[in-house]
Symmetry: C2
Amino acid sequence: MRICIIGCGAIGSLYAAHLGKLDDIEVWAYDLNPAQVDAINSKGLRVTGLSDFTAAVHASIDASKIPPCEFGIIATKTLFTRSAIEATAHLFTHGAVCSVQNGIGNEEIIAEFVPHVILGTIFPAAHISKHGVVNQDAEGKTWIGPFAGHPASMQEVETLANALNRSGLECLAMEDARGAQWTKLIFNSASNAMGALTQLPHGVACDQPGVRKVMSSLVQEGIAVSKALGITLDSDPEALLDYGREKAYYHPPSMLQDILAHRKTEVDALNGGIARLGRDLGIPCSLNEACAAIIKGLEYSWDLKIPEQKNSLSVPRYK
Amino acid sequence: MRICIIGCGAIGSLYAAHLGKLDDIEVWAYDLNPAQVDAINSKGLRVTGLSDFTAAVHASIDASKIPPCEFGIIATKTLFTRSAIEATAHLFTHGAVCSVQNGIGNEEIIAEFVPHVILGTIFPAAHISKHGVVNQDAEGKTWIGPFAGHPASMQEVETLANALNRSGLECLAMEDARGAQWTKLIFNSASNAMGALTQLPHGVACDQPGVRKVMSSLVQEGIAVSKALGITLDSDPEALLDYGREKAYYHPPSMLQDILAHRKTEVDALNGGIARLGRDLGIPCSLNEACAAIIKGLEYSWDLKIPEQKNSLSVPRYK
């Protein structure tokens, strides 16, 4: 069986290396970073942190060099879903593609390009420590299920889940995996947005009573939208916020990392996604909408050019 | 007649210098910055920008050196209202004290210390260009009226208004000046909070449709609270936002200036003040409450010490 990981950053590398340990699976990785691709091809892909092993993975920056695959796992930032699946769709004319990305809206895009789509949600955390080396920071399950729009069969979902379980990544195959997706989405809408805007690590943000209250209001808006969609959450996002506070007090949510590095965030797929669906369904989501608008405004400020003579931001201020 | 300006930063200096031009008024300035006080005492207080003149003002960092006054004008940042009036209250046992500060809650604090209080709202803008020199950036009226809690008499209000008008600062004496105060408060709650959180100048922020929508929602919350308080606004805060966009497109709201300099903001007297009154009155103010909580969280982040071994904010990130 052949699997292609699309986007071989932290999460993509974690999945590629684990699957690369299995003798019956040939793993390919598609990534646009030549240094990452070269490192993987010359030395293999190494996992450190919670475990330590190196696996053989074929990597390429050119999707035309990759043979057809039974499965694709797309692990890019949500900003790049469209360009990534556009470049690789031809590999999956007889395969199924699974998103393990953040937020909502990815599966809809993937379904524009391939016939069989799997909706996925993951909890492991990782970061690339150098090219070809990914450090696993946190364990966590993977939930996958057919995406209603262009569904993969349950047999395909179970085949992929089986491979992931054998590779050491615990995976649950479900008829409806939206409960897991929305639980993580709602958690993220609170933890990521408040981290990004207050610049506080997750646990510290939770301990500011006013900030925690905003988190809870964001969670309530998300729960209301999930209910209107007929989704049964896997667990209580509030309890997840507490769990995160306990386990990762000083963890900077990924959106805070993006803000500090002036990288465009995934807010459109998180708070923005909840707000869009809320608008369609008539569910008030003013806080999710505000967080999305403010974070988009902040992104816009990074590239703003203010005419020299009007830049009173540089007027010397009295202290 | 003797008037003491309490807090001789940009706005305090503007008022002190203008009043210092009048022969029948002796102007004192109380300020904690020795360099500013020395400059004023040795060279006088100079106004540049929209006009250019220098006036004689007596300045002191020691309130016990200042003689009793008929009027006080308090122009500190709202964070320092209590300490400023605490230090100077003895000057006004037979006088009236007027706040020309941002937001709400200042008059209540002043009334704890002096018997006659005047509520004031101002629109001029200025910045200190160097010690003893204030540049007036924008013209604008001053509205003053008795503060209901411990009111000054209308005669006192009119005497102060008369002095300001003669000095070149247009001032309206009103029986109820809360309409002007709340118009500016509501405008500020939108312009300052969105500027601070998006880091965009006022006009640029107004032109982001999502951000402008949040501004309008903040305005609506403020208007609902003002109505519940029986206050008739002077003008439409939405129109003021447009006017500001027109006249000061690249102006960084003062709260944005504070955020960029890592100075504590006045958010407690602006969005926080609206949210507190909303809570008391049962008017939902979730966006003002969220903005206040997020900005307080951001202030908290500046001094946060993260234990070295837990500081994954410094983990090298893959790009």
